[in-house]
Amino acid sequence: MRSPLSRFFLRVLLWLPLCFGGWFLFAILMSTPVAWLSGLALPGLFPELFSAVARDGYLLDIITRFDAPAALTQGRAGELAFGVNPMIYGYGIPLFTALVLATAEEEGFHHGWIWTGGMLLLVLVQGFGVTLEALKVVLFGLGPEVAARAGFSPLQRELVALGYQLGTLVLPAMTPVVLWLGGYRRFVARLAPSFERTGP
């Protein structure tokens, strides 16, 4: 007889390949809100650095206000652009969905709003990751001339570096788990009764 906890995680592991498959199958669709968000954030918050965010399949092209080196454009005028993969910040979506579906098998899917709200937050996490990666590339990846023209103070540069690391290494992994723990408190307390001591 398996414990409720091992039964639950077995279900999560069974849902996970399906959720990952669906997530990647619809990668272009999944990157649409992230493209829209970063398209608002980058030219909106840093108009002197970025002019637009364009789609290239599920990848994003970040178009800057800096001139591309003449050697690359064969003498023609062109803006410097680079690619970002938004899916790197989005693997929390299939993980969160697998956790929700495994929970729904026991609880019923009557907490659809938790999944919807979770998805919105996970898209924000993706948008944050893309925005900070774009800033990191401008400040640290395109050479000292571009970095100097960006006009960031040393403290601002450090904050961008910290935000990028946080947006890459911590937020995409941690957010789905925190959302699930917070959204399904009563169910979690059934799996691990002492969880109730965190209070309502």
């Binding site: 995680f9 999560v12 299939p94 941690m174 788990v177 691990a192 209070g199």
Partner: protein
């Protein structure tokens, strides 16, 4: 509940910022990462002699294929998430310390499986390597953290109820 999540977030951000400081990187994270590479190679050499560790790089001597264990691949961030969760959760200190030790071993154990599996996956197919490296294993490691955290909570002793004053007749 809110206190737990707030404390968890504060600890998480503080520990993560601490991890990124140059002295901590030099004294702890880089030597630890090289240790992870050395243990991975020691494990691989149990069944495959043609492997070499150079700092944080694991190399296949025959094909020349190599993987570098970088930030995010050494299990430190996942361990920090678990550490922050266990420190934020109301529990006796000796249970916390036992949980942190067992959790560290569990996270690092699954991370070694991840590194070794990626090392061989990369020699077989680069696309599948990228997919597993960037997406799948990231989710599995965090699932491991969640499993360890919930098992630890299950094993905690029941919370002591406040001592009641003796009733007077």
């Amino acid at each position: 509940m809110i206190r737990f999540f707030l404390l968890f977030l504060v600890l998480q951000v503080s520990l993560f910022t601490l991890e990124l400081l140059r002295p901590v990187q030099q004294a702890v994270v880089i030597p630890f990462t090289e240790g992870v590479a050395a243990v991975s190679v020691w494990l691989v050499k149990l069944f495959d002699a043609g492997v070499l560790a150079q700092g944080n790089v694991i190399r296949d001597l025959e094909s020349g294929f190599a993987v570098a264990i970088e930030a995010g691949c050494n299990g430190v961030e996942a361990t920090i998430v678990l550490l922050a969760a266990m420190l934020a959760f109301p529990a006796p200190w000796h249970h916390r310390l036992l949980g942190i030790l067992a959790g560290f071993l569990a996270v690092q154990g699954i991370n070694l499986v991840r590194i070794i599996s990626l090392f061989y996956l990369g020699q077989w197919d680069k696309d599948w390597f990228e997919w597993a490296h960037l997406y799948l294993w990231q989710a599995l490691i965090m699932l491991d953290v969640l499993v360890v955290f919930l098992i630890w909570i299950r094993l905690l002793p029941p919370a002591q109820s406040p001592i009641q004053a003796p009733a007077h007749a």
